[in-house]
Amino acid sequence: MQLSLWTYEGPPHIGAMRVATAMKGVHYVLHAPQGDTYADLLFTMIERRDERPPVTYTTFQARDLGGDTATLFKKAVADAYERFKPQAMLVGASCTAELIQDDPGGLALALDLPIPVVPLELPAYQRKENYGASETFYRLVRACVGPRVERAAGAKPSCNILGPTALGFRHRDDVAEVTRLVEKLGVRVNVVAPLGATPADLARLPDADFNIVLYAETALAAALWLEKTFGQKFVNVAPIGVGATRDFVKTVAELAGIDATDFLRAETSRLVWYSRSIDSTYLTGKTVFVFGDATHAVALARVAAEELGYKVVGLGTYAREFAREVRAAAKGYGIEALICDDYLDVEAAIKAAAPALVLGTQMERHIAKRLGIPCAVISAPVHVQDFPARYSPFMGFEGANVLFDTLTHPLMMGLEEHLLGMFREDFEFSGDAAASHLGHAAAVVLEAEPVTAVWDEAAEKELKKIPFFVRGKARRNTEMFAAEQKIGVISLKTLYDAKAHFAS
């Protein structure tokens, strides 16, 4: 038993729903009690979908348990087929139905429907949402693929784009951006799946020359199987940031047999220049803590370090399946990865690292708000705000533009910071005011931990002269230093000794 106040991932059948809902012509019959229908609102409220997810729940009750829940399930499958006439059907159990062991797969197959029926075995007491999405997509692909049709002579090379789902973080716009990118490069997109695909589209997957795994969390299993079965190679570089996008383009070009040199010379992102412009100098060495799904956490750490000149002081993921990749990336920054799905531990780690910026999920946004640290959201689990009305991809060169804004705006604009520093002694200026984007919490939360040492007057005065946005940290560090050195009264000397101590 694990105590959970909040979870980064839902149960695995939610992952299956993300695949079913992303597609057209698929229906999912889920053996589940009525409360599990809450899942519909994730799609209709958070993602603002204008249709209900294509899911039928059996909503069995206690009184059915002694009786015949199996018949109930069969009837639900038959009714759903009649009403929705899908091209393919997914069947499975949620956590409760898993315990009553009705064998949804066997029951549905016994109905002999004239469409592919895909039984899902998603162990609800072991696995989570991303596993569920990955497994569902893999099973569907296996069930639906048709024979490979060779590319006609003279036709363009082609690829499939795999991984985008419903309720995915910026998937809608990433797909548009990556499609544009590879097409401009001269590669035809054969199928995008699961988002927007039908089972008939899945049948055509083998026709492509290679696959693009946009999100390893959902598409890696399917891509591995397609490689094994049809010899389709795949690209597993998420094109997030300028460097990764260039790597991505090179790998795609290689698989497509295209020379990308001119393309890469012509195509770029504003990030490259913006990051070099002198206003960005102040970004140098800003400490950043990155937490999210593996794809986004690893990619964003790279953008932060290599493209904005930040210092990565924390990197982690809640997705244990990808712990290895994240650990390897963290090693590159000389830190230990945080692999953890308990947000209280994540909060503690952020607090300890005291970064200048947090890149995380909606949960880290709230943690950062409590701690008074600027933050940007870079990963699922999603929130209604992660479906902006405007075009806002994370991938490709346009995505890099978005990232420059997303990762720098929460920090104060360079000039603003400069001016605040210059005028801090001005009588009109209140150093206790927090930056406008930090709300009210900032000034309060940055207060030091219980004070051990007292500050003498001169040191206290000096502390006031330190710009407020680093003052909290200066106070904390000095007090920590004083405690270590067993200094009871903090003087000017202690303050500067501490500064030197932490600078070295």
């Binding site: 038993m1 694990q2 105590l3 959970s4 106040l5 909040w6 979870t7 991932e9 839902g10 149960p11 059948h13 939610i14 009690p33 009525q34 409360g35 599990d36 229908t37 809450y38 899942a39 519909d40 609102l41 994730l42 209709t44 409220m45 603002r48 979908r49 204008d50 249709e51 209900r52 039928t56 729940y57 059996t58 909503t59 069995f60 009750q61 206690a62 059915d64 348990l65 639900a76 009714d79 009403r83 949620s94 956590c95 409760t96 315990l99 009553i100 162990p123 609800a124 007491y125 072991q126 989570k128 909606q362 949960m363 709230h366």
Partner: protein, 425 residues
């Protein structure tokens, strides 16, 4: 017009109306959802669901941003080891609770809340509650109830929770009034004021704001239900000698007035006193309704089943705001507790109990109502098809009972229609 006899159980309205009973797919939350408002009401209680990742996910999805503070609810997620018998589920539960109690010493009342998985594996939470109660002694009271989706829909979780409280209420046979069902603090304070002006001073509220303020119960206790979904709680109270005062629910002016008057009559308060205390606020509330009436009168409303508040709401919308009732669906129809409400519903109202969501959506399409009251999973898809909707969960989160809230309640229904009229895109 304010005679009590006018609204008691003559076979009027829909008292004997036929009801369409459906047993298909339900699109309703389970009883765990009640935790979201119960934990805000009882401010030193903690709700520990013993369930699956689904239960945890449901709670955080229903609670929305509330979850981002350190909330007073959590889920002990059963895992494979518990199921395989590798870990003794009871030991595991004790371990989780002990850690929790260490972290949150301010908690005075802990509810172990059963879920579908805990029910199916027959984890005996009432025994666990006894055991843990002994362990923590006087500092912490431990109770249990089930909010599972195989036994409870949405608001029935509150019923199960309150029913679990009844056996531990202190005993007293003194004449007293108890108001049963979660109401907002502001509503409680208003109710207390009116009761005391009427001359009823000994008034308890269940659930109370704090675990230490549990109201007493006994032979002299009369209780008024503030919510229509409290079947089991009422039974438990009756078992302890209390008597239910039959009344409509305090929604809208008419319902609130009748509710107070039913209590007044039981306590032998004169008509004159009722008039002196209640007429002015009732009149003020009627005037406040006028603005919404302009928007709502003559419009047709359709209720999907959700909170069991549907019938009192429909009664209010029809009688005080002039709306036309299309189908009124409710997850469960408690004929006895709703007798006064049914009598007030316009004759011929189409009632349904339970759900078969696809067929009900078909009926909704045919009926073409001006306003659809439904759960959050259905609202946007219906809007996209041109319907105007009001999502029902707001009706349980917002203070809506009493005179002062009657117009707020009407406003909840009027706003979507006004908004629809404003938008030119």
């Amino acid at each position: 017009m304010n005679e009590i006899s006018a609204i008691t159980v003559e076979p009027a309205g829909c008292s004997d109306a036929p009801v369409l009973k459906e047993r298909g797919q339900r699109e309703v939350f389970c009883g765990l959802t009640g935790i979201v408002w119960l934990h805000r009401r009882i401010q030193d209680a903690f709700f520990l669901v013993v369930g699956s990742r689904t239960c945890a996910h449901l709670l955080q999805s229903a609670a929305g941003v509330m979850i981002f503070a350190e909330p007073r609810f959590a889920t002990a997620i059963i895992d494979e080891r518990d199921l395989a018998g590798l870990a003794d589920a009871n030991d595991e539960l004790d371990r989780v609770v002990t850690r929790l109690v260490e972290r949150r010493p301010e908690i005075k009342l802990l509810f172990l809340v059963g879920s579908c998985p805990s029910e199916v594996i027959k984890l005996d939470l009432s025994r666990a509650a006894l055991r843990l109660g002994r362990k923590f002694g006087a500092d912490l009271r431990v109770l249990s109830y089930s909010g599972s989706g195989i036994e409870t829909t949405f608001t029935e979780g509150e019923d199960a929770c309150l029913a679990s409280l009844v056996p531990v209420l202190p005993a007293s046979d003194a004449a007293q009034l108890m108001v049963v069902g979660t109401v907002a603090e502001i509503v409680e304070d208003q109710f207390r004021r009116y009761f005391s002006e009427l001359g009823i001073h000994d008034v308890g509220f269940l659930p109370p704001r704090r675990a230490g303020e549990l109201p007493a119960v006994g032979k002299g206790t009369f209780f008024l239900l503030a919510q229509p979904f409290l079947a089991n709680t009422a039974l438990e109270l009756e078992r302890r000698g209390a008597e239910r005062i039959a009344a409509p629910f305090p929604l809208g002016v008419e319902g609130t007035l009748a509710w107070f008057e039913a209590a007044a009559q039981k306590f032998g308060i004169s008509q004159a006193r009722c008039r002196a205390v209640l007429d002015a606020p009732a009149e003020r509330a009627r005037q406040a309704l006028a603005r919404c009436r302009i928007t709502l009168a003559g419009r047709k409303v359709f209720f999907f089943p959700d909170s069991q508040l549907e019938i009192p709401m429909a009664r209010f919308l029809a009688r005080e705001l002039g709306m036309t009732l299309s189908e009124v669906g409710t997850p469960f129809l408690h004929r006895e507790h709703l007798a006064e409400e049914l009598a007030l519903l316009p004759r011929g109202t189409f009632l349904s109990e339970g759900q078969d969501v696809e067929r009900q959506l078909d009926r909704c399409d045919e009926e073409k109502p001006d306003l659809v009251v439904c759960g959050m999973g259905l609202a946007n898809p219906l809007e996209a098809r041109g319907f105007t909707t009001k999502w029902s969960i707001e009706l349980v989160f917002t203070p809506v009972q009493g005179f002062e809230q009657a117009a707020d309640l009407a406003e909840l229904f009027a706003r979507p229609l006004r908004r629809r009229a404003l938008l030119k895109v």
